[in-house]
Symmetry: C2
Subunit: 264 residues, 2 copies
C-alpha cells in the first residue's frame, strides 16, 4: 500500500526535529496538562503540526485524531479514513529520560480498522512499520513475538501511569507482579507495544491511554503474531473511549487475562 | 587521584568489547545462575577477565571483589585497597533490552571507604566518574541530584528484581508505588544510581544486590549531593553482606525511609 512509505517518510522527517530538540530539552518551556505529571512541550505541538500539515496536503479528504489541540474529539462513528497521531508518546521520558524511551506514533484507520501504522524512536533511530496482512518490521527486518509460555520466564512491562488510574493498575497487576520472571516499567505505550512486537518483552499492560497512543502499536503487535485486547478480553475498538489494553505474545494472553481480573 | 584516569581508560576499553557483542547478542551462549532469570554470558566473563588483568598489572598488590568466578567471597575485614567489579550490571537487559539499560561498574575501596568509582554505559557512550571529595561527572560535566521534595512530583525507580526478594520488595514499595508521581522499573542497579546522580530520576530502591553492584554507584550519588542508605536508614557498609539500598536525591530520603518501613 502506498501509505506505508508515506508513514515512514514523515516519521523520519519529524524524528529529525525531535532528535535536535532532545539534546536541548532542558531549555524547553513545559506546560502541565491534566495533572502535575502530564506534560506538554512545544516539541509535541510542533511535531503534531508537521504531521497534520503533511497528511492534509497528501490526503486532503482524510480525518485526523490526535493528542493535542483540536483533534482529540473521538468521532461518533468510525470515519472513512482517519489518521491517529501521537506526536511524542512518552513526553515524561523525553523530558527527563536517561534512556530515550519515547517515539512518534502514526496510524491509518479505514472504516474503524487499522490499515497501517508506524512508530519511530528518533534517538535510537529505530523504525517499526506494519500494514494489515503484510507483517511488521523493525528497521526493515520482520518482527516476531516470543514463544514464552510461562509467567516465571516472562518479562512483563507494567505501566503504572499517572495518579488517576494508579490504584486500579496496582490491583489488576498484583498477581502478575508476583508471578513474572522479570518486571519492567518504561511508562511509554509505544515502548510497550514495540518491545512485545519485536520480542524484547513478552507482555505489556496499561490503563489510561487513548486511540492515538495505541493505534500503530496494535497493528505492529498483531502483525508480529501477538494479541491485543481490553482487560476483559474483548477486542480493541479504537473509538469506544476505553482506556485499557493488555498486549502479549499471544501464548500467555489467556493466562494473563485470568491474572488481571478484578477480585469479586 | 591517578586511579580515576585508570578507571576511565579501562571502562572505555572494555566497553568497546561489550558494544561489539551487544549487536550479536542473540548468538551468545547463555547460562543460568541461581534461577531462571539470573543470566551469565561469556561477555560478563570476558569483561571481568580484562578488568582483573589490567588491575593486577597496574596495581599488583590490590585485592579484587567481583561478581563472577573466584572473586565473589567477601573479605572478613575491609581490605587495604580493593577493587569492586561488576562486568555487566544488567545482564538481562543486555540480552533482551529494547533499551540498552546496562553498564560496566568499577570502584576502588580503601580501608572500607569508596575512594573512586566509574560506570560506563557502552551503547549510549555515557561515562560517569567520581572521586571522594572531588564531585562526580557524566561525560565530563558535573552531575547534581534534583531538589524534588514531594513524592507526588517524584520519579521513583523500583527494582522488583528476581523472585527471591520480590515479595519483600512489593511490601516495602507498596506506599511509594501509590504516592509517587511517576513509577519506573529499569531493573538495573547502575541505571538506578546514575539516573539519581544525574537528576533523571529522584529515587531508586532495590533488594538483592551485592557490593560490586553498588560500590561505584554509591560514590557517584553521594558526590552528586544525594543520599544512599540501607532500608532502615543505616549507612551502607560494603562488606556486611546486606542486600538492600535506598538511593535518593537527599531531599526525600527521610520521607522514603518512613514509607518503606515494614508494617508492625
Amino acid at each position: 500500500m502506498s501509505e506505508l512509505p508515506f508513514i515512514e517518510d514523515i516519521l523520519k522527517k519529524t524524528g529529525e526535529y525531535v532528535r535536535t530538540h532532545y539534546v536541548n530539552r532542558r531549555l524547553l518551556p513545559v506546560h502541565s496538562k491534566s495533572h502535575a505529571n502530564d506534560f506538554l512541550t512545544e516539541v509535541d505541538i510542533n511535531v503534531q503540526k508537521q504531521l497534520v500539515a503533511e497528511i492534509q496536503k497528501t490526503f486532503p479528504g482524510d480525518s485526523i485524531l490526535a493528542e493535542e489541540s483540536g483533534f482529540s474529539a473521538y468521532p461518533d462513528k468510525p470515519p472513512g479514513r482517519c489518521w491517529a497521531i501521537d506526536p511524542i508518546d512518552g513526553t515524561q521520558n523525553f523530558l527527563r529520560g536517561l534512556f530515550p524511551a519515547f517515539g512518534i506514533s502514526l496510524a491509518l484507520i479505514e472504516g474503524g480498522v487499522i490499515a497501517a501504522g508506524g512508530v519511530f524512536m528518533p534517538i535510537q533511530g529505530d523504525i517499526f512499520l506494519a500494514a494489515a496482512g503484510k507483517g511488521a518490521t523493525k528497521n526493515d527486518k520482520p518482527t516476531r513475538v516470543t514463544g514464552t509460555a510461562e509467567l516465571t520466564l516472562a518479562r512483563i512491562d507494567i505501566d503504572f501511569n499517572g495518579p488517576v488510574n494508579r490504584e486500579e493498575m496496582i490491583t489488576r497487576s498484583s498477581r502478575l507482579l508476583r508471578a513474572a520472571g522479570q518486571i519492567r516499567s518504561h511508562a511509554c505505550s509505544v515502548v510497550g507495544f514495540c518491545s512485545v512486537a519485536s520480542g524484547e518483552q513478552d507482555i505489556y499492560m496499561v490503563l489510561g491511554i487513548n486511540a492515538w497512543d495505541i493505534a500503530a502499536g496494535v497493528i505492529l503487535v498483531t502483525e508480529s503474531g501477538g494479541t491485543v485486547t481490553r482487560f476483559d478480553g474483548s477486542p480493541v475498538n479504537l473509538f469506544d473511549s476505553r482506556k485499557d489494553v493488555l498486549v502479549s505474545n499471544g501464548a500467555m494472553h489467556g493466562l494473563c487475562l485470568e491474572e488481571i481480573k478484578l477480585p469479586g
